[in-house]
């Protein structure tokens, strides 16, 4: 989706087929999802609340262990970095106090990375947690926003092009990439990551645009669950 600065002139409407998800894609996991956002796709499995070594147990809450797997090879520093965001979001969203002395294992497998990987992974985990029926305080909703300089124009910041959920090509052309995670209840910021030189004014604009874009993702979540429930009724 590309929007001009004044927010009214929408150049390109996103096709709803941009998001795709298959819940319960893996039969052995307690909850799983195959989720794709544009060309980026991720497979997530959730196990839990499960057993945990006594030395690692926490008496008042459950532990969240996230394993972020790259397409091939073993996880590098990059995956560790992204893993921390997924973990932080899960620790906040899941009602950990309900399952003391246990652990949730969340495995995120990158299937294809074509941009906006972090937001895709967080949304995928959110869908998989819903599939597993884990009690959550709210649903985390992630949106990636990129800002690109308009090449034809001479004017400054007013002409920056804002791209929601950019592709890898759009990311490389952008000077700044931001990922926001909101909670679905109060629309407060759960987690964020931004990189690239950015003025506070531009930052505010991205935040606003990302907040608006969460509606679409939430609607998609709702539709996915409806579909899953409807499919279950037919059997």
């Amino acid at each position: 989706m590309i929007m001009k600065d004044d927010m009214h002139e929408v150049v390109e409407q996103p096709p709803t087929s941009k998001f795709q998800c298959e819940m319960n894609a893996l039969k052995n996991a307690d909850g799983s999802a195959f989720y794709s956002q544009g060309e980026t796709s991720v497979m997530v499995a959730v196990y839990g609340p499960g057993d945990l070594k006594e030395t690692k147990q926490e008496i008042d809450k459950a532990l969240v262990e996230v394993d972020f797997r790259p397409k091939l090879g073993s996880p590098t520093v990059n995956e560790k970095y992204l893993e921390r965001f997924v973990q932080g979001v899960c620790e906040n969203a899941i009602m950990l106090a309900l399952h003391p002395r246990t652990a949730f294992a969340i495995i995120v497998q990158i299937m294809q990375d074509q941009g906006s990987l972090l937001s895709c992974a967080i949304n995928a985990v959110c869908v998989a947690l819903q599939d597993a029926g884990v009690s959550m305080k709210h649903l985390p909703v992630a949106v990636t926003v990129a800002l690109r300089k308009e090449s034809e124009s001479e004017l400054e910041d007013a002409t920056d092009v804002l791209i929601i959920n950019p592709t890898i090509k759009e990311e490389s052309e952008s000077f700044s990439i931001l990922t926001f995670v909101f909670d679905s209840v109060n629309k407060n910021l759960l987690c964020m990551h931004s990189q690239g030189p950015l003025l506070p004014k531009q930052h505010e604009r991205c935040l606003k645009a990302a907040k608006e874009a969460t509606e679409e993702v939430l609607k998609f979540f709702r539709d996915s669950v409806t579909q899953k429930v409807a499919a279950g009724l037919e059997l």
């Binding site: 973990q87 979001v89 407060n188």
Partner: protein, 279 residues
């Protein structure tokens, strides 16, 4: 008695201080610990810096070596940052391979170098496709008391700023580099970023520059890196309690203020005659 209370009920203990708008270490919620920057403590390194923020102590050493550039970027030198959190610095860490926090910190510094464009990588090129500089920036934490990343950023920038590279020519016949130690040029640093960390206690109190015990009882850290022109370079918040946009705005404004203060430090140490300063 107070000591027992502190260990058994750390959260309640902290709350009793917050009621009076003060912290156990007598700081106000916005106050940042005394920051000390010392440039050039390691004489055998090509550039070095020691940073103290309160009890947190971080050392950075830069080692310059000659290498062959990568095939994809034949004209670009290489900067390799590494953050080490050894068992020495806190009981939190065990000896062994780098833990997650160290790896995440390393990636953070790497991101920062790229985004802030700290050093023009073309400046590190000697002969395209044949010889470039590689700068190994090893950041080691000596004492861990919260906000290590803030100290690490200052140490990295100050250490890189103190680097002077000797002039090198390539001997065409033997294909070996010839170094002229007497002719040194200082490295140009494009930008002076400063990181400021905040944590949130029960989603309403913003705690600036948390110590280790504060990091343990609060949830989630927000790190804002900005430069002198009020540009946000990196904003990093990996989960924790939800915060409102207003709180984020407050943190951003405070980080700008902090950047200005640390800038005075950067400026003060860069005069060749003196190398110590405090705020």
């Amino acid at each position: 008695m107070e000591d027992i209370f502190k260990h058994i009920q750390p959260v309640e203990y902290y709350k009793s201080f917050l009621k009076e708008n003060i912290r156990p270490d007598t700081r106000t919620l916005q106050q940042i610990r005394k920051t000390t920057l010392n440039v050039g403590p390691i004489t055998t390194a090509d550039g070095s810096a020691l940073v103290k923020i309160g009890n947190t102590m971080v050392m950075c050493g830069v080692k310059a070596e000659l290498t062959q550039p990568t095939a994809e970027e034949p004209k670009k030198g290489i900067i390799v940052p590494n953050l080490d959190l050894p068992a020495l610095c806190s009981s939190k860490f065990k000896p062994g391979p780098p833990n997650t926090q160290a790896q995440v910190g390393t990636k953070f510094l790497d991101n920062l170098i790229k985004i802030a464009n700290l050093v023009n990588s073309e400046d590190l090129c000697i002969v395209p496709d044949k010889l470039v500089w590689v700068l190994y920036c090893d950041v080691t934490c000596l004492n861990y008391d919260g906000c290590v990343i803030d100290a690490a950023v200052v140490a990295l920038v100050a250490a890189l700023r103190s680097v002077s590279l000797p002039s090198v020519t390539l001997n065409e016949e033997t294909d070996t580099p010839v170094t002229n130690i007497n002719e040194k040029t200082p490295l140009t640093i494009n930008c002076l970023p400063v990181a400021s960390s905040f944590s949130f206690f029960e989603s309403e109190h913003i705690i600036t520059d948390p110590t280790l015990s504060e990091e343990d009882i609060t949830s989630g850290c927000l790190t804002v890196v900005s430069d002198e022109h009020e540009n946000l370079l990196l904003v990093d918040r990996p989960g924790g309690v939800s915060i409102t946009e207003d709180q984020l705005e407050i943190c951003i404004q405070r980080s700008f203020k902090r950047t200005k203060e640390v800038h005075k430090l950067y400026k003060a140490v860069h005069k060749p005659s003196e190398s110590n300063d405090q705020t």
